[in-house]
């Protein structure tokens, strides 16, 4: 188990290093306007060169990369050039994360409870009304563009239920619509997968044997079917939780939530190279750490993985 964890950790760190370095080096190929914004028009070539030298951008690439990693190690992601000039990036991001992550976590909690309950019900009543109704919901959520149904949620949620139409951090009621909106997709996701894994499990020989042993239906369901069906689901959980940091572009702009959603798109459009770099670092670490934790969780839950030679076999 320990060996497996260390091996996966090293793999993750290596992946992260490749991704971040690649992005960093690609950023160096961008036009230098990205470091000056509007000022660039009024600057002479000499001024531009002088500023670039001052920022260390004319040094060889390996020096720049080394400085960048040294900064990261100190928790310094550099300063924004355009988005909010000369403000440390960590200061720009820090106050936004709690909003995004807060909504994301609440949405996951709603999605897990409702989605798992729904999926378990669907699997137990396979082919019957509940299963079909659930399938309709899943297909609807996946097929209709979220921009459409989320607008309806906002519209009817505010007019019929009299919930606030925009987010206001001092009004708890205004949290409801965005959190619910954010969970709709997750509910469908969890319901669909838990149903699928449970139906798989129900047809397994060991479930037949568990019944033949005389275990009551309930015990078979809880101890054998549901437990086994949750295991493959657990793999995605850490990644989903960490991904909430990124926020939801659409929902955050719909309800004017000051979160992380859309920030990356924004800074790319405005060519704020330093911000892009920092955000890519954060988002890719979050993704990679999520996968790493998911694999560890699987290894904890599924005894077969501990023995798998080569680390990745499942």
């Amino acid at each position: 188990m320990f060996g497996y964890a260390v091996k996966r950790l090293l793999q993750s760190l290596f992946t992260l290093f490749i991704v971040v370095s690649l992005v960093f080096l690609l950023m160096r190929l961008l036009p230098v306007e990205g470091y000056f914004g509007d000022r660039f028009q009024k600057m002479s070539v000499g001024e531009v060169q002088a500023s670039l030298r001052k920022m260390g951008l004319l040094d060889p690439w390996y020096l720049q990369l080394g400085r960048f990693y040294a900064g990261v190690a100190r928790g310094d992601l550099g300063v924004s050039f355009i988005y909010r000039r000369d403000v440390p990036i960590t200061k720009i991001i820090a106050p936004r994360i709690p909003y995004s992550a807060g909504f994301g976590l609440v949405a996951i909690a709603i999605a897990m409870t409702a989605g798992l309950a729904m999926g378990v019900g669907m699997a137990r009543n396979k082919g019957k009304l509940q299963d079909r109704a659930g399938t309709v919901y899943i297909v609807f959520v996946n097929a209709v563009p979220l921009a459409v149904y989320l607008l309806f949620v906002q519209l009817y949620g505010s007019s019929l239920l009299h919930l606030p139409i925009l987010f206001d951090k001092y009004n708890i009621a205004s949290w409801i619509l965005p959190a619910v909106s954010m969970s709709l997709n997750g509910i469908a996701f969890y319901a669909m997968w838990i149903r699928r894994y449970m139906v798989d499990e129900l047809n397994k020989d060991y479930i037949k044997l568990a019944r033949a042993k005389g275990l009551p239906n309930r015990t078979v369901m809880v101890r054998h079917v549901m437990r086994n069906a949750y295991v493959p689901m657990a793999q995605y959980l850490p990644a989903a939780i960490l991904a909430t940091i990124g926020g939801s572009i659409y929902i955050e702009s719909l309800y004017s939530i000051p979160g992380m959603g859309g920030l990356l798109v924004d800074v790319i459009q405005r060519q704020d190279n330093a911000m892009v770099q920092a955000l890519v670092l954060i988002f890719s670490s979050v993704g990679i750490v999520g996968l790493f934790l998911g694999d560890l969780l699987m290894a904890l839950l599924d005894p077969r993985i501990k023995l798998a030679k080569g680390g990745g076999a499942r």
Binding site: L209, A212, P216, P303
Partner: protein
Amino acid sequence: MTASPAPKAILEVRDLVIKFSLRGRLLSAVRGASLSLSEGETLAIVGESGSGKSVLTKSFIGMLDQNGRVDAGNILFEGADLATFRREEDWLPIRGKKIAMVFQDPMTSLNPLLTVGRQIREVIELHRGLVGKKAEIATVEMLDRVGIIDPEARADQYPHEYSGGMRQRAVIAMAMACRPRVLICDEPTTALDVTIQAQILGLIKALQRDFGFTTIYITHDLGVVANVADKVAVMYAGKIVEIGTTEDIFYDARHPYTWALLSSLPQLGVKGRPLYSISGTPPNLFKEIKGDAFAPRNPRALKIDFEREPPMFEVSPTHRAATWLLDPRAPRVDPPESIRAMRESLRGEII
């Protein structure tokens, strides 16, 4: 059945009919099967795939698929008629406790995420009401009993750490954990290699000797039958067409289907001749079958075989067969040459 002092019947099946509804149509998987089992006896049910042998035994523990039901007949066991059981609560005191079952494939019969010990303890806790340390001791005892070496350590291992033969032993330990009266083995050795097969059959025999339960084997393998069974029931198209002691069936088979089945044994084929196989396919069980179900595939079929269903004729007190050939008015029809040759070669020799 009045000869020797008949031992007490433990399980009696009378005219059992089991139907399945499949896409709005009714399929008769078992069409009136009757048999009686005495305590400590070993019965083998043989027949080709789809003959209803698994379905028949599944009905003894209420494990028919959701779309199946017992349509008529009785399954008498310890003073109750299992055929009338509908609710789960009815079955709980029987299933796994009084009548246990071992399935075909030990590789997939154990839950991969729970330790073997946990899966055995589950049965012991449920049916014997033991908890904690006592249940644990009983679990280890059971593993030891089925020949698992170092049972304490093995109990804490997961199924993937067991070999195929050991897994089947563990499954048997599970089935035996609450000392059932009847053990149903659904092709227990099909998925195992030959040397392990013999070990497992030997183990079941030894356990049967010690605990005195009744065993029902479901198998295609007539070699297994000759090895372990006291009694053989031959099933075809949802009916028991011939039933008798192992000697009756191997030395004095009367039903043309039993002949055909025995002729297709590769071990008994004649050297230099192609192996025998039964031509045609089993009848469609969605339709009402007229006459003897085997008649269309039977080269020696009589005219009446296509008209009326043969009743069970008694050959001897232990031996009965459902074929018009046993009617006093029937013409004399000899079994095929291969069967006669086989009888010659079998004289004085046990397969």
